[in-house]
Symmetry: C2
Subunit: 139 residues, 2 copies
DNA sequence: ACATATTTGCAATTGTGTTGCAAATTTTAT
DNA sequence: ATAAAATTTGCAACACAATTGCAAATATGT
């Protein structure tokens, strides 16, 4: 099962270690985005807090995961659907945060619409986060 | 000069204090959004860290300022253009963050477009942040 | 299998935000 | 204008999140 994950690490020129395999595996099986705390809790063999921070940072730099700009300023991460270029993300999809179960989901197929900015502004990247009830939680 | 600011405080049933006048004044004269740290630095008569936190929180509850969901998960505040209802914000404008000077600006006239969500998702609120170069910084 | 390079875990440190409480300030009623 | 009541402030202490330096452990390339 973890062969594919190992390959992903190798393809990105990273050493294959237990922590990395375990964390990447979590992302592949998670229902939505993961926060540092989620990973810390779920890790079966305890992984050091610091290692988790460093792993997330490395994954992000390599373009394997991306951070999600939530409205409540908490930090969550999710897999980049298509590999992003190293040091350069290009995922322009909308993110959804459920107000009830607080699951955070990448809507890979919904991409952020363009907006017309006032004169002089030069846009590089747009982020959009929608809050509401997810399909599991709406009554 | 601060008469208008005093009135705003009174209108919202808040005691008129030096810290509040000073902080509100900063917002009225700031070029963009302010972070807690900005206020702490700029305050001429030093205002206690805790007082700043509490003042920002109160202003937000009263609908005088709103938080801005930046992509880097830092917390910034800006004036609500029209008074928001107490405990209920209704500003649906796009925010712009400059990648060079990192000024954060409310684009009051650009409002967040609707997006079509997948089946089952029930949206309540949308936030959009655009990064790029502001009118002062584009070359 | 060994030497080299990378990663990990620990301890210590920094940063951010919160809470309780007494002193100071503001408001309200007189 | 003054005194009592209510609110706000500043300080100390705390809780939690995140970063750094460094030695020990693990992974890689030959």
């Amino acid at each position: 099962m973890s062969e594919a994950i190992k390959d992903l690490l190798k393809k990105n020129h990273m050493s294959v270690t237990d922590s990395r395999l375990q964390i990447l595996d979590m992302f592949y099986h998670a229902p939505g985005a993961l926060a540092h705390a989620d990973i810390e809790k779920k890790a079966s063999d305890k992984i050091d807090r610091v290692t988790i921070y460093r792993t997330l940072q490395t994954f992000e730099e390599k373009g394997i995961i991306h951070t999600i700009p939530t409205a409540d300023n908490s930090v969550k991460y999710a897999l980049c659907k298509d590999q992003c270029a190293e040091g350069h993300h290009h995922d322009n999809h909308v993110h959804f945060v459920c107000d009830k179960c607080s699951k955070t989901i990448c809507l890979d197929d919904v991409h952020v619409p363009e907006v017309k900015l006032p004169k002089g502004f030069q846009p590089h990247q747009s982020n959009m986060v929608v809050n509401g009830f997810c399909s599991d939680c709406r009554s």
